[in-house]
């Protein structure tokens, strides 16, 4: 600049200087032009970067600080029919690290390993394998306080992320119905699996500005709002469920059985009020448990229904009009031929009425009634009751049971089926059949969701259903096979069953003891099936009446009280009480029984004090 200024001055001041003249204008033009071109190129590049090809650098820039991160959301809660929580998601923290960042400070790795509670070399190996990655879980699902302690050490490249863990406060008692979730919060078994889509929330996404250490500096934008999972109200009643589980466990201990299942259905709605199985597992610590214990036997495992089939056989006979409740059946001499084998009764019951066949549980009687029916008709009747088809409860792994069609029958299959061999069903199916008998012959698919109603299906004439109920009532009355299942103050209709377990094409000496029943008879509320497998015959025997009957009695007695079901047989109760009173103070027995009506509170106090 100075040189040029001097040149200018020289030219104007002393034009006579003898130097070679140069084209000032031309040079000036050249310089200005070059500079102009340079700046044009710069502007052009700027325009190119800013307006035309702006994606590349914007992406690069954003990638360095702008991140889209997921917004975690919790899984819906599962509650029982009264709103008591059965499965709750609670937040836990997962510690993650950036291997690239961590490996820059190898000096702090032992400290980190100690904080995480893992050997230092294991951590180093883990990070070494993932040295080209930017994310690795260091420890998943730990207590938030514990996570805070690790983060407080301020080790570069370590951060935490919120996750949710499932807790099951009811533990083992409800494990099979609820199932469990895996580490990624997806349902694996039971209701958790069946309603996974409903329970699972949709994680959202948001844009944030992060600093070099991965900490969030600013929330920029919401990409997608998180949708929390929806809650699910089950039809299960927590109290009946616990009662069922407790009684089943007691029966298992007392009889030395290997496994047991029980189902309680609400007859009017088909809702499952309780469903328990043993052996069970702790859903809060699934890892240590045996895989075999995870199965919901009440829904997945089939057993031969044994004598619990007889009411269906009798109903078939009544519906076809071949017998009436008072038709006499001759069961002499207590057995009849069945191919190469025999159909036998426990004793020779002689001549029985059709009601007597149920009361005494006569195999011969049931077989004779079934033999009066054509194969196809018998098959179709039994099939209508849901044998051989899945109940449709929506529970994962639901078994349909086995009901062979008539073309595959040979010789005496029908005769065998009449008392519950040669076909199989799950405990849920058996409870469903009894619910249908109690529900005026209307079959309802069971449901696990409160308030859900499946379409009822009329499978039997209501009048016949009532007659069968009346017959089944005799089973729990004196002289029947299941007096252990009787409940004071209520009429109980039910049927015992004992099946020998099939193994390798023949029947073994191992037994399945069943009891299925409904209560109260006048206005049926509950249907319950109890199945106990392999009871030790030397303890309480193996008959359904002695093994499964007491479970039914204990659970139903509690359930009737819990659900405020009024007694339908108060006369028997009063009579039993009067007898008790008479025993206690013989001289004034009648007076006491009369006085009791006038002064109930006094007697009640006495009773309570004693």
């Amino acid at each position: 600049m100075i040189g040029r200024a001097t040149g200018k001055a020289g030219k104007s001041g002393k034009p006579s200087r003898g130097r070679a003249q140069f084209n000032l204008r031309g040079r000036l033009g050249l310089v200005v032009g070059t500079l102009g071109l340079c700046s044009l190129a710069l502007v052009g590049r700027a325009v190119d970067l800013q307006l035309i090809d702006n994606d590349f650098y914007r992406q690069q820039g954003d990638a360095r600080f702008l991140r889209e991160i997921p917004i975690p959301t919790s899984r819906g809660m599962i509650t029982d029919r009264n709103g008591e929580p059965l499965a709750v998601s609670s937040p836990v923290e997962s510690i993650w690290g950036n291997p690239q960042e961590l490996l820059k400070n190898p000096g702090r790795l032992p400290e980190l390993a100690k904080a995480l509670g893992i050997p230092a070399e294991q951590l180093t190996r883990k990070l070494g394998q993932r040295s080209d990655k930017e994310f690795v879980y260091l420890k998943r699902r730990i207590n938030p306080d514990e996570a805070k302690a690790i983060l407080a050490r301020d080790i570069p490249g370590v951060a935490s992320q919120r996750e949710f863990r499932r807790f099951y406060p009811q533990g083992e008692a409800l494990a099979h119905v609820l199932g469990f979730t895996n580490i990624d919060d997806r349902g694996q078994e039971g209701v958790e699996l069946a309603f996974d889509d409903w329970l699972r929330g949709k994680p959202g996404a948001k844009k944030v500005i992060r600093d070099r250490r991965g900490r969030i500096v600013e929330n920029v934008d919401l990409v997608r709002a998180a949708e929390p999972g929806r809650d699910l109200t089950l039809s299960i009643d927590r109290r009946i469920q616990y009662l069922t589980y407790r009684e089943l466990k007691r029966a298992l201990l007392e009889t030395g059985a290997s496994s047991a299942s029980a189902v309680v259905l609400d007859i009017a709605t088909g809702e499952v009020l309780a469903m328990a199985n043993l052996p069970s597992y702790n859903p809060n610590a699934v890892d240590g448990s045996h895989r075999d214990a995870h199965r919901n036997r009440a829904v997945t495992d089939v057993v031969e229904p044994g004598s619990t089939m007889k009411p269906v056989t009798i109903a078939a006979g009544l519906a076809a009009g071949v017998v009436t409740p008072d038709t006499l059946i001759n069961t002499n001499p207590g057995w009849m031929p069945n191919g190469r084998y025999r159909t036998t009764d426990t004793h020779n019951h002689g001549v029985l009425t059709v009601t007597g066949v149920i009361t005494k549980s006569s195999n011969v009687g049931a077989a004779k009634i079934a033999n009066m029916l054509p194969d196809r008709q018998f098959y179709e009747f039994v099939h209508r009751f849901g044998y051989g088809s899945a109940p449709g409860s929506g529970f994962p792994g639901e078994s349909a049971g086995v009901l062979p069609p008539p073309d595959s029958w040979y010789g005496t299959t029908k005769q065998t089926m009449a008392y519950g061999y040669g076909l199989s069903a799950t405990p849920l199916q058996i409870a469903e059949v009894y619910a249908a008998l109690a529900n005026d012959g209307r079959m309802l698919a069971p449901t696990f969701v409160k308030g859900q109603r499946n379409e009822p299906r009329q499978v039997l004439d209501p009048a016949i259903a009532h007659e069968v109920m009346k017959m089944m009532q005799t089973v729990t009355e004196p002289g029947g096979t299941a007096t252990t299942a009787a409940i004071l103050g209520y009429h109980v209709a039910g049927k015992t069953g004992t099946a020998r377990m099939a193994s390798g094409g023949s029947y073994s000496r191992r037994y399945v003891s069943l009891f299925a029943g409904v209560v109260p008879v006048d206005n049926p509320r509950f249907s319950m099936a109890v199945v106990v497998s392999e009871p030790d015959p030397s303890r309480r025997g193996y008959y359904g009446g002695s093994v499964s009957g007491p479970v039914f009695h204990n659970v139903m007695q509690g359930a009737l009280r819990l659900m405020d079901v009024p007694p339908d047989d108060i006369e028997t109760w009063l009579a039993a009480q009067a007898k008790e009173e008479a025993k206690r103070k013989p001289p004034v027995a009648i007076a006491a029984a009369q006085a009791q009506a006038q002064a109930p509170s006094q007697v009640a106090v006495q009773g309570a004090v004693r």
């Binding site: 919790s74 809660m77 008591e84 929580p85 059965l86 709750v88 998601s89 609670s90 937040p91 807790f167 406060p169 009811q170 533990g171 008692a173 948001k206 600013e218 929330n219 920029v220 934008d221 919401l222 927590r238 109290r239 616990y242 009662l243 407790r246 004071l488 103050g489 007694p567 108060i570 109760w573 009063l574 039993a576 009480q577 008790e580 009791q596 009506a597 109930p600 007697v603 009640a604 009773g607 309570a608 004693r610």
Partner: protein
């Protein structure tokens, strides 16, 4: 003349809309921050609620109540003979 007026109006509108964009953007950012804060508060409350429910459920676990009633409180289930039926 009218063209110049039109230009002026357009320039003014342009400037105004630019300011409006900046303002809206700022507003959005502020609202989003407030939303995030409130959501976090909501989540914390929900989580606290869940934790309390879990705690309640643990205390109210049937097995525990059964044990406490029987052992600590000395309660028992009434026997059939302890119950008196009253006919209305």
């Amino acid at each position: 003349m009218s063209a110049r007026v039109l230009l002026m109006v357009l320039v003014a509108a342009n400037v105004l809309s630019a300011i409006a964009v900046v303002f809206a953007r700022h507003e959005h950012r502020q609202s989003f921050i407030a939303l995030t804060r409130l959501e976090r508060a909501r989540d914390e409350l929900n989580i606290e609620f869940g934790r309390l429910q879990l705690e309640q459920a643990t205390w109210a676990e049937s097995n525990r109540i059964d044990q406490v009633a029987r052992t600590r409180l000395g309660m028992k289930f009434p026997e059939t003979s302890d119950i008196v039926v009253v006919q209305p």
